[in-house]
């Protein structure tokens, strides 16, 4: 499988395991089809701004060529050298005309040659001629190069209608695909990270494998407090200021604080080495498994959906990234529980026992041997997790919580449809989009489960 570097020795077995799973997976028709649907959606998501954009992909105007749709993308700057603004000289009068890509009315310019994207609208363009919930079957209008209002045909129709401001629903759906996929993938990556870490710690070390001197155990209490103090109390304003500036720098500061926290804690625990004498030197077990398991239980007892709604509602700065973080932070328990159980199994396996007897370090055993084994089934949970993360996100934007108002998502389109029941296209299309995406992920998860479960194989 693709998840890690393989060394030659187990290439053979691993490969056949992967191939076997794939074979099983393919047998499950719905899951197999879903996989390709997912690939297709990934494609839409990745190229959303080239598929639906109100600026042409390519246009020539008064002897100059433009690649406006690429200007905001990194491709635009590096490949086409597009800067977002250009000036054109009128051939007769010699006047310079300034063309600002994103506000220029490309439809009104007399373009020599032009290639429009598949859907020549972007999710935020307000089409003044087709405002106020134009149905897909209604007559649509557009302005031609001469400025006359004509009936729009073909590409220039809003195939899925528009909303009150004249924003194209199909463009919104395409843009929403990107956001939904991002939400699913990013939040589950966060959950996966936490789940794997805690789950494997709990499962592999259990209650009786980590031995600490008493002094270190005692030092843990002031250590936690101190680490909290340095990482979060003193840096509290730094973090909140950074979040005020931008979500990105906020994340960076938060991550720094977490690192600092871990570092200080480790330093203090290692410092305990110098105090190991007499009573304090006595070795005791650190019940990692119990601690983490209880933690998971406590976490599971929390009303998670409520928690997510509340936190996203009280955060002043609405941001889709923060939403992903919150969803990710609240959905790691399933994975952790599963990884723990899997680890408990794995550590009794012969080859892990053998590795240990060969003197390999515990950490190395986890990362190199135990984890990869547990990895494949984890992806069942990841697939289901992505599905529910997408549901949560669209539910939140349906309630108009946490998602910025100028970002078009599936849920926010449904929210508009809710106040405007006659505009069925605002309900049906985004609803179907959510439904299909969630189904696809769920089917893949189910397919993976069937494929990986040896008992269900035939």
């Amino acid at each position: 499988m693709i998840f890690r570097k393989r060394n030659r020795a187990d290439e053979e077995t691993r490969y056949s395991f992967g191939r076997d799973t794939w074979k099983q997976f393919r047998r499950n028709r719905p899951a197999y089809i879903s996989f390709y649907v997912l690939l297709f959606m990934l494609f839409i998501g990745m190229f959303a701004s080239f598929l639906a954009n109100d600026q042409p992909l390519y246009a020539s105007y008064r002897g100059k060529t433009f690649y406006p749709a690429f200007a905001e993308h990194w491709i635009g700057k590096s490949v086409f050298g597009a800067e977002g603004v250009d000036s054109v000289q009128h051939p007769v009068t010699g006047n310079w005309e300034r063309i600002q890509y994103d506000i220029a009315d490309w439809r009104a310019l007399e373009l020599g040659a032009v290639i429009w994207p598949l859907i020549p609208f972007s999710s935020s363009t307000q089409d003044i001629l087709n405002r106020d919930f134009v149905s897909p079957d209604d007559e649509h209008f557009r302005r031609n190069e001469k400025g006359e209002v004509i009936t729009a045909t073909g590409k220039f129709r809003h195939r899925m209608g528009t909303d009150v401001l004249g924003r194209d629903v199909l463009a919104g759906i395409i843009h929403g695909t990107k956001i939904s996929l991002l939400v699913g993938i990013v939040s589950m990556s966060i959950a996966l990270l936490i789940g794997l870490l805690l789950g494997s710690l709990a499962g592999f070390f259990g209650d009786h494998r980590i031995r600490l001197s008493r002094i270190r155990l005692f030092l843990l209490v002031p250590g936690l407090l101190l680490a909290w103090f340095y990482a979060f109390v003193l840096r509290g304003y730094t973090i909140s200021d950074a979040f005020g500036e931008s979500t990105g720098s906020g994340f960076v500061q938060l991550l720094l604080s977490i690192l600092l926290f871990v570092l200080i804690l480790m330093m203090i625990i290692y410092g305990g080495k110098f105090l190991e004498f007499g009573f304090f030197a006595k070795q005791v077990f650190l019940p990692v498994d119990s601690l983490i398991s209880r933690g998971i239980e406590i976490f599971n007892s929390m009303p998670k959906l409520l928690l997510i709604i509340t936190i996203s509602a009280v955060i002043e700065e609405r941001s889709i990234w923060l939403l992903m973080l919150i969803i990710g932070l609240s959905s790691w328990t399933e994975i952790a529980r599963f990884v723990r159980a899997e680890m408990l199994k794995v550590r009794e396996l012969e080859y892990v026992q053998a590795a240990r007897s060969m003197g390999l370090s515990e950490w190395r055993i986890i990362v190199k041997h135990a984890l990869p084994n547990a990895m494949a089934p984890v992806f069942i949970y990841v697939a289901f997790g992505i599905a529910s993360a997408i549901l949560v996100e669209s539910g939140l934007s349906f309630l108009n919580i946490g998602v910025p108002d100028d970002v078009v998502t599936w849920g926010s389109m449904l929210n508009v449809g809710r106040t405007e029941p006659e505009a069925w296209w605002m309900i049906v299309y985004p609803g179907l989009a959510i439904f299909i995406t969630v189904t696809v992920y769920n089917l893949i998860g189910e397919g993976l489960r069937d494929a990986l479960d040896p008992r269900l194989r035939k």
């Binding site: 977002g84 506000i103 307000q126 401001l165 609405r318």
Partner: protein, 507 residues
Amino acid sequence: MDETGTRLTYTLRNDIKWDNGEPFTVEDVVFSVKLILSPLTHNPQAKSNFTNSIQSIETFPGDQYSFVLVSPAPLRGNKEVMSEVYFVQQSIWDPKDVLAELKFEDCYNEKFVPTDRLKKWFEEFNAPNRSKNPEYLTGLGPYKLIEWVDDSYILLEKKKNWWGDSDTSILLQNNPDKIIFKIIKDESATYFAIRNENIDAVNRLGMTKLIKLQKHEYFNASYQSAFIDQYAYNYLGMNMRPDGITHLPFFTDVRVRRAIAHLVPADDIIKVMYKGKAGRQVSFLSSLKQEYAHDIPLVEWNKEAAERLLDEAGWKDTDGDNIRDKVINGEKVPFRFRLNYMSDAAPSKEICLMIKENLYKAGLDVIPNPLEFSLFYEKAFTHDFDALMGAWMGSALYEDPSQLWHSSQWSNFGANFCGFGNAKSDSLIDACNREMNDSLYVVKIRELQKMVADEQPYVFLCSPQARVAIHRRFAAGIYSEKPQMFVNEFQLLSGGGGTAIKPDLTQ
């Protein structure tokens, strides 16, 4: 009223009775006013409406039905202040007359120390369990509260043998036997409810909903409905006096504010979001009022003029990213500001997006910033905003302009959010408030309106019309004043007598 304008003498009707048959007397008036003014009552917001106009109530010994309202200064608002007092029955709330210990002077004395008896009484009075209890909510009106179910409905029933039954004045009409205020918080649910004829009267219908309803034959057959002008307007306010650090001086220049006014597509907003059912105005008074300054021209949408003004003010796009910028304190600042608005005020989001689109085409970037109601106002009061979109609801009564425009209302974190005002405008406001002569008052208030329009702290977006629908089972009128109808006068035209009506209070 006497010549000084500070003493108003009132005489009460002597046939008004409380529910238990006791007469409504001066004692109840004094008790109610004291309750409002008392520093111990938990009503900080209600109190402030009265402190300007009420200093004390003087009674005549032996006369149970007349009293004198003493005001601190001769203000236009004095005449109307008593109409806003909610009367409370003293014999139910305070049978032992504990409140006699509280003097009117004490209410204005910051250092007042209440007696223990008073403290104890107020503790009970402020207890929340009484606020919706029918036993305590007695009144003088023709209806009494039967049941109040949270988030669901409020049930009122007609009193038997009400004192006003014999009267024929319109204000004392009480035709329906039972009134149910249904609380529906969702716009489309309200729509369906009225389509299903589940409610008889509604005063907060969505704009598009009523238009759609009026297109239906059966709706018009069973409901009378109307769009009606009301004393309310939406505005976009700009921070004229930002601190310069947390909020940059975008709108300190009147030219920038005027440019924004030129760029905001008010007519478009009215057309798209209000379907034409809104009027434009240029001042803070409703154009329904006769003192409205009709001679001030509307600010038209004009991109070229706006761009010129912005250029003049020094905002130019120097780096080709389409966003205008300017060097302030040695730093290049792009014109990118947050527009605050209330997240659950219906079309705010769309209006903001329309403004954003128009401003972006002129090189200004708007970041929509929806905020929850109380947070929105907290930020507005503390000047913690770049620009904001809000709405004011007025009334036919006298509106004191100092609340919105006096500069002390800015410096004391009051409702003058934007920082409008100088010594000249302040003195004009005071003059308006003290002017008892109507025609002179009109001249002065118009001058003030002109001043506000010139300074452009607000872009006056529009004044949306109220949407009212009343079932044709009832004969009833529709009014400009909130809540656009007078439930008591509803008269059942056909059908049995016991049918209830259900006005809807969509929140």
